[in-house]
């Protein structure tokens, strides 16, 4: 049976049909939801990628608190668990992305399949980023839960918890631009895995273990330029000090600054990848 009803011939000589299902642009929002939906669907099917992301922050939280709590008190940190909770959150969300899956798509030809469809090109990346935002916020939850179990309270109340989650999630999102830029530029899984190295200077050349006042020499100088220093200060303020604009605004600025740089790199790489040159 030919499901094409009442064919007509167009100027192109192609038979067109009335009442038959035909392709049409889905629109940016629907494309975004489709791409994000596929990415979110894949996450629980890749436990090998999810489990380390869940364990690493909890592991570092336990080790840091166990090893450094006394030293913390020595340099004036009264509640070292509360001091370390934002660190664990930063460890949980930094560098989490679907960049490896994107490389797999590029190598398998799936990305080309998407490119021969009428899908909006920007949604191919933004859809993955939306999925990343959902994932990193979900990854924050077990760490937060552990904090609550250990008796850590928020000086800013429930709204502060939400702000804490949002700021952490947006930091995770801002950082995704780097691995995506590498994935789109190289299409190489090794290069994407190496992008994890970026995590180390951001995560360790800062106030991870001790407050800014206790850092000395070159580490103190670098920490001043590390956006994570300001992010941690903002997150710590939400737990311990309250709504302190002088801590929160630089934290937001750090997230926006890193986001602008990494997104510029990622979208430039996307444009290069989808260009037909």
């Amino acid at each position: 049976m030919n499901p094409r009803a009442t064919p007509t011939t167009t100027a192109s000589g192609i038979e067109r049909d009335r009442g038959v299902i035909r392709a049409r642009p889905a629109g940016f929002l629907r494309d975004l939801i489709s791409v994000a939906g596929r990415a979110l669907q894949a996450i629980p099917r890749e436990p090998e990628a999810l489990i380390p992301a869940l364990i690493i922050p909890l592991f570092f939280f336990a080790v840091n608190v166990g090893a450094l709590a006394d030293i913390g008190q020595f340099v004036g940190v009264s509640d070292f668990e509360a001091f370390q909770l934002p660190v664990a959150i930063v460890f949980a969300v930094t560098g989490i992305s679907r960049a490896s899956a994107l490389v797999t798509d590029i190598q398998s030809g799936y990305f080309d399949r998407l490119l021969v469809s009428p899908v909006n090109r920007y949604s191919l990346l933004l859809g993955l980023m939306v999925a990343d935002l959902v994932l990193v916020m979900a990854l924050c939850l077990p760490v937060l839960l552990l904090g609550f179990v250990l008796g850590i309270g928020f000086a800013t109340g429930p709204l502060g918890v939400l702000a804490f989650l949002l700021l952490s999630g947006l930091w995770g999102l801002a950082f995704t631009g780097f691995p995506y830029a590498i994935a789109l530029r190289t299409g190489n899984p090794g290069a994407v895995n190496s992008s994890f190295l970026l995590f180390f200077p951001f995560a360790f050349l800062t106030t991870t273990f001790l407050p800014r006042e206790a850092l000395t020499g070159w580490l103190a100088a670098i920490a001043d330029y590390n956006p994570v220093t300001y992010l941690l200060a903002g997150l710590r303020a939400l737990i311990s000090s309250g709504w302190v604009p002088s801590d929160l605004l630089p934290a937001i600025g750090a997230v926006v600054g890193v986001g602008v740089v990494s997104f510029a790199l990622a979208f430039s790489a996307l444009r290069a990848r989808v260009s037909r040159a």
Partner: protein, 325 residues
């Protein structure tokens, strides 16, 4: 928008990668509803041509239109009207077949009900049945190809591009894909542009065949016409040692149209093989040739390829194997 009476038209299509010219002035015209076989060895420029026609690559020179839309000026129009199954079945192994097809439908703007309808239509057409509910990672090569084909058809395209759709498949799966391609063309009237390195595939499926070598189309026509251009019958002689002037002796025989010698193999084209074969055997005997094998057969597309390029396509064993089944 380019207006054209062809489903696919290319004029002087060129693609360069640095100094290398992958496609060197390809002209094509494929009529609506036709199956066009694009035949050539690996590296001939088949895939690069397809990638230009499906808007993945810009031509370095020349122009092309597909389904009435220019591939450079109106790529969006082309994308809405084509279905593409690229060389490797590009699937998400962690999705189920149905999830994969639903996503394809959504990307082509199909509404939920339309996606359901197409899943039903295509489920029957490609015969994946219950497998659609299983993860693609567990599919066989043939099932993956059929799912790939279904994805390319999800939005009822006018023109379907199949880039080496049966490469790597076993003979049974290959025959099944051929059956699907024929059915799609016959029942749905889809124009099909099929690249292949398999002679039998082009011969059996295509209404017209273009042979590409080193980026240029070196012969084009219906398979029957191309084969007729070689002669009605071929006598193929495999020899050991020197030819000892055998070519000249054979050319002097009555009813011999052409004699070619390539790599110890003589090919004699004649309108009447059964009558001429005896004379050929005598001439070879007189020339003192050490004949290993003498065969009388009708021409194949490989003979056409040999005639126009001076080389065999390189997969005759594979073809012979299938032909004997």
């Amino acid at each position: 928008m380019a207006v054209s009476s062809s489903a696919i038209r290319a004029e002087g299509l060129v693609r360069r990668f640095g100094d290398m010219v992958a496609v060197d002035g390809v002209d094509l015209s494929v009529a609506p509803g036709q199956i066009y076989g694009f035949l050539g060895p690996n590296g001939a420029g088949k895939t690069t041509t397809v990638r230009m026609l499906v808007t993945l690559l810009s031509p370095s020179a020349g122009r092309a239109s597909v389904a009435g839309h220019d591939v450079v000026a109106a790529p969006g129009g082309v994308r809405l009207r084509i279905g593409v199954a690229l060389q490797e079945a590009a699937l998400d192994l962690k999705q189920t077949g149905a999830e994969f097809l639903r996503l394809q439908g959504r990307l082509y703007g199909l509404k939920r009900g339309e996606v359901g309808q197409r899943l039903k239509d295509l489920g029957e057409l490609i015969d994946l049945g219950d497998a659609l509910g299983r993860r693609v990672g567990g599919y066989s090569g043939g099932m993956r190809r059929r799912l790939d084909l279904a994805a390319a058809l999800m939005h009822n395209p006018d023109v379907l591009f199949l880039d080496e759709p049966t490469t790597g498949l076993d003979p049974v799966s290959r025959a099944r894909v051929w059956e699907e391609v024929r059915r799609l063309n016959a029942e749905l009237g889809v124009t099909i542009f099929l690249t292949t390195q398999y002679l039998e595939e082009a011969d059996r499926l295509a209404d017209r065949v273009g042979i590409i070598d080193k980026g240029r189309i070196v012969a084009e026509g219906t398979p029957a016409k191309l084969k007729r251009s070689i002669g009605q019958d071929l006598i193929v002689v495999s020899t050991r040692g020197k030819l000892n002037g055998a070519v000249e002796r054979l050319r002097a025989l009555e009813a011999v149209e052409r004699v070619e010698a390539h790599d110890g193999e003589l090919t004699i084209a004649t309108p009447d093989g059964p009558r001429v074969v005896g004379r050929v055997a005598i001439a070879l005997e007189k020339a003192g040739l050490d004949v290993e094998r003498l065969t009388l057969r009708t021409p194949t597309l490989d003979d056409v390829f040999l005639e126009v390029t001076g080389n065999r396509l390189g997969n005759t064993d594979d073809t012979d194997e299938k032909e004997s089944q």
